[in-house]
Symmetry: C2
Subunit: 465 residues, 2 copies
């Protein structure tokens, strides 16, 4: 159930749960100020909370006739100059779970309602403080754990991405209005919308949406970690390499502690990116059903990957062995969204590089020793460089699957319009497709919404935001 | 190492660690405002942070030339009208650990120092915003998890307790000055301080300090949980009763989740108090060395307890059995700080109460079934009533062992002065003892401090407070 009305007043603990120096309880709605007036005793006795200016802070005690609960600071934001667009009060109290709970209890006793997850941001959206894609970025911003995912979410929250969509949609609205106008004058058979101009506009729209759709690959990997699949024959040291990279990480960057470690899949931050490593079973031809299944899964992981690390044993595998293996990845090499890096492992057992590799330039090759942790930094540098090369600098990036789907739907509908124009489709059918395209683009910015969509989006927020 | 100077500017994350809707970074010191001016871009372009009024909030972006880190609210508090008495800025940012870390990093790059635990409160103390006992209460307030411990800490933080000490100390200062004046005129053998008046004042002081010392028992149990020892012969159902009480608690009060459970010792909140239950081995006469050790430990636990629950088997133990057991606790019954409650367990196996108990009034007796959870609420009510009866309503309560020791030292020295007066001690020796008493009282309020004392006190705070 989602509350789409905002005539009641909500409250929630907005700071992380637990014990700390201070904790913030946030109130939003028409009764925020009058409720605080009943339970807050300002140090300046003559102060009237209903009269104070917006964006001011007031010291005093909070409690009920039974006693004082805490000494607090009250920050007052008056509608519409607040996060939600409503009257907002933030109570900064001592960070004791006991006080937080009691204070929430006191507010509920005074008729406030506990906010649903994301409900403050939902109200901000309903009061047009944000469009929907900006509101969604707030949750991404809070959850982001690398520079790249943080920058992506922040740019979306600040409207970079939805400005693009809005301008696309406005062009389409103008276009559609003209066609619809033709419907009113259908008996006169006039064309208000110049068909060549329209085709030009459609091409432009399709190109821009196509670019946004393509940006999803990078946007998604930035948000969820860039998938790196480690493959190779059995016993070439794939798992050792994975462990070494994961441990090496601590030396390279130790910003975000507490990453959950998993034997098969694990994410680490290197530089400003987050990589998701996928270890696989060894690749070899086999007729054994179980082993074949393992190999099939490995191929699935290869298709998921943005970067493939092919590990070989530098003490055993010759230049031609590796070349043959690489040829199996031809199709991958042709897929521009994937990058292949060869890792010649076990250099600790070598005096010099195996012959043939010295001038090998077709595929980037790094010789390393996972065991002795030699040249692992070269692999890390290469991973970061691979992403940087791919990054669409400056352009808006789509990272949300809901947006991707809306963009794909919009593109498909625009293509139908385009084909319709080519085959002289009637304005009635054209406008129907155009309306559909407008609808899909509107879903991104929230110009078109349903309670279900809003429930899905804001339900993933944390309480108090 | 403790920093007792405040000419540098400190910063810390003041909200609990982890992910949440918002997070607050606090800055205090002379460079707080000028530093924020360098990294904060207000939405109102013409705004000058150095010029804004105290207790105002400003929206904008924070970051460095490399890019925006977040959209934030800046709360400005100008010295001396802040928590620390210095210029303070609180930055309210999105509650992402990534942003919190980066923002702290940015502040450090601009020459700020990470605050030590409790350093904001230390500065408040050094700038005379608080006396020492008030500052200590801030940490207790944050850690308190029951109404009683919360109220105790809040009252101490608001100065109730230290006002009492201060007024005692002032009386003593006047007294001492007069005696010291006599030293200047020692050749004339005058008495500026009337000895009978002084004796009267000493008696008053001793009585008041004695009362504060006695309040420590209740103060300490309120803070750490009221110790309840469960004793009785083997197999009367002591452990079942303990488990039932601990589970029943969830129904009685479920405010504070996550209490660590321990088989032998466990604390729960009932009503506004926190009780610390201590299960013991069965009490019975024995010559076995190991069993004797167990019984000896049980007696230790009995001495620790504020409340003793003596459990007997209502289906087996007769009135005279119980009477005999109670007689063993005569010495305890005489100790007014301990309360004995008899629990006749296993009533589920009884049709009616055993004869003899019906009109039994010497010791409070509750018949219950731990197994069927019958009458457990009567035990809970009785526990709460026991504490309430003991509570020194209205009087200041000492809960800090450091204060207790200072009060005990002050009392001992005052008694020496008292004896000295009775035996006509010279003013020189009298003033020496008086100075000692002043010193001990001053240790509580912080009129007398050492770096070591401050380090001990503030080192126990959380970061950011």
């Amino acid at each position: 159930m989602y509350h789409l009305t905002n005539n009641d007043t909500i409250c929630a603990i907005s700071t992380p749960p637990g014990l700390g120096a201070i904790s913030v309880i946030r109130l939003s709605g028409p009764a925020a100020i009058s409720t605080c007036k009943k339970i807050f005793l300002p140090r300046e006795k003559e102060l009237d909370l209903e009269q104070v200016a917006s964006h001011t802070i007031h010291f005093g005690t909070i409690g009920d006739p039974d006693g004082i609960l805490d000494e607090v600071l009250l920050s007052v934001f008056r509608a519409p100059h607040s996060y939600t667009g409503e009257d907002v009060i933030e109570i900064s109290c001592h960070g004791s779970p006991y006080i937080q709970q009691k204070l929430i209890g006191l507010l509920l006793e005074h008729g406030l309602r506990l906010a649903n997850p994301g409900e403050f941001t939902l109200r901000a959206f309903l009061n047009k403080k944000f469009d929907l894609s900006q509101a969604e970025a707030v949750a991404d911003l809070i959850a982001s754990h690398s520079k790249s995912s943080h920058d992506l979410a922040l740019s979306q929250m600040r409207g970079g991405f939805s400005k693009k969509i809005k301008s696309l949609r406005e062009k389409l609205v103008d276009f559609t209005s003209l066609i619809e106008l033709e419907l009113d004058f259908s008996e006169e058979n006039v064309e208000f919308a110049s068909r060549p101009e329209l085709v030009k506009l459609l091409v432009e729209l399709e190109d821009e949406i196509d670019l946004l759709i393509k940006s999803f690959t990078i946007g998604n990997v930035i948000k969820n970690g860039i998938p790196v699949t480690i493959i190779g024959k059995p016993n070439v040291g794939k798992s050792t390499l994975l462990n070494t990279i994961l441990n090496e990480e601590k030396a390279i960057v130790s910003e975000i502690p507490g990453t959950t470690r998993d034997a098969i899949e694990d994410t680490i931050g290197i530089g400003e990116y987050r990589f998701r490593f996928i270890d696989t079973a060894g690749l070899r031809s086999s007729d054994e059903p179980i082993e074949m299944m393992g190999i099939e899964r490995t191929w699935e992981k290869i298709h998921e990957a943005s970067i493939i690390l092919y590990v070989f044993d530098a003490t055993e595998d010759s230049y031609s062995d590796v070349m043959q293996a690489v040829s199996e990845f031809k199709e991958l090499a042709e897929d521009k969204t994937k990058k292949l890096i060869l890792i010649g492992n076990k250099t600790d057992k070598l005096d010099k590089l195996p012959s043939g590799f010295r001038d090998f330039v077709e595929v980037e090759t790094i010789f390393a020793s996972a065991k002795r942790k030699e040249n692992i930094h070269l692999i890390a540098d290469s991973l970061v460089a691979s992403v940087k090369a791919e990054n669409l600098s400056g352009s808006p990036i789509v990272s949300n699957i809901r947006h991707l789907q809306a963009l794909q739907n919009a593109l498909a509908t625009l293509k139908r319009v385009h084909n319709g124009l080519d085959s002289n489709l009637s304005p009635e059918l054209l406008t129907s497709d155009l309306r559909n395209a407008l609808h899909h683009l509107g879903e991104i910015t929230g110009d078109i919404t349903s309670e279900e969509i809003l429930g899905n989006i804001f339900g993933r927020f944390c309480i108090g935001k």
